[in-house]
């Protein structure tokens, strides 16, 4: 489960990243208190170790691009 602080990450960026990652993973997005939560289950087991972290970088990149 990946946690994104609402005050640091934009919801639009996370939604966009979820859309783009749908081909390679099953994703579920939720909200809890100050965080957006994203559950990421890679479709290929060899992606297990890094897909969550790559997703985090991707969201960060989208946020930067959106400003």
């Amino acid at each position: 489960m990946k946690k994104f602080s609402k005050s640091l990450y934009s919801q639009e960026a996370i939604k966009e990243a979820v859309k783009r990652y749908k081909k390679i993973a099953d994703l579920q997005m939720a909200e809890k208190n100050k965080y957006y939560l994203v559950k990421i289950k890679p479709k290929k087991s060899e992606h297990n170790n890094f897909l969550e972290d790559e997703f985090g970088n991707y969201v960060l990149g989208l946020r930067k691009g959106a400003r």
């Binding site: 602080s5 005050s7 640091l8 990450y9 890094f50 972290d53 985090g56 970088n57 960060l60 930067k64």
Partner: protein, 152 residues
């Protein structure tokens, strides 16, 4: 600014440290983080009004020294962006002026001539519709005479 304390987790291949938001604005942190996303996994947490927690996790396996060096590089990049933000703030007016001047110069000459002519036509200092240039005595003498006529 002090070197922030950090926690190294060799097993997780990551270094975590906190930055005070008063010294390091979120904009600078995001820009610095963006520079690193090809080499490390960056994760941010905390409150942008108080303190931001930065986690850098190597994509390749790194030892303690390399993780410390990574943090140093990140802080250097952060300083770079702090300076950029400061310079951008200080030069904002002059940049706006340069852009405005270049936009005006890119307009066709007949448009510039037309707009300056229309300004000339509308602004005439000799007209005094509000009678600002009329002395107080004259203005009120007229009114007094009119009142006297009415009373008669």
């Amino acid at each position: 600014m002090q070197n922030p304390k950090s926690k190294i987790n060799i097993k997780e291949n990551q270094i975590v440290f906190r930055l005070n938001s008063k010294n390091y604005p979120l904009e600078a942190i995001l820009n610095a983080a963006y520079v690193f996303i090809d080499r490390v996994y960056v994760h941010l947490d905390g409150d942008p009004e108080k303190e931001i927690l930065i986690s850098l996790k190597g994509k390749e396996r790194l030892d303690k020294k390399q993780l410390e060096a990574l943090k140093g590089e990140f802080l250097n990049e952060l300083l770079n962006y702090l300076l950029r933000i400061e310079v951008a703030k200080n030069n904002q007016k002059i940049r706006e002026y340069i852009v405005a001047a270049s936009l005006v110069s890119s307009l066709p000459s007949n448009v510039i001539a037309q707009s300056s002519r229309s300004e000339e036509e509308t602004v005439d200092w000799r007209e005094d519709p509000l009678e600002i240039a009329v002395p107080w005595e004259e203005k009120h003498a007229k009114k007094a005479k009119e009142k006297q006529k009415k009373n008669k």
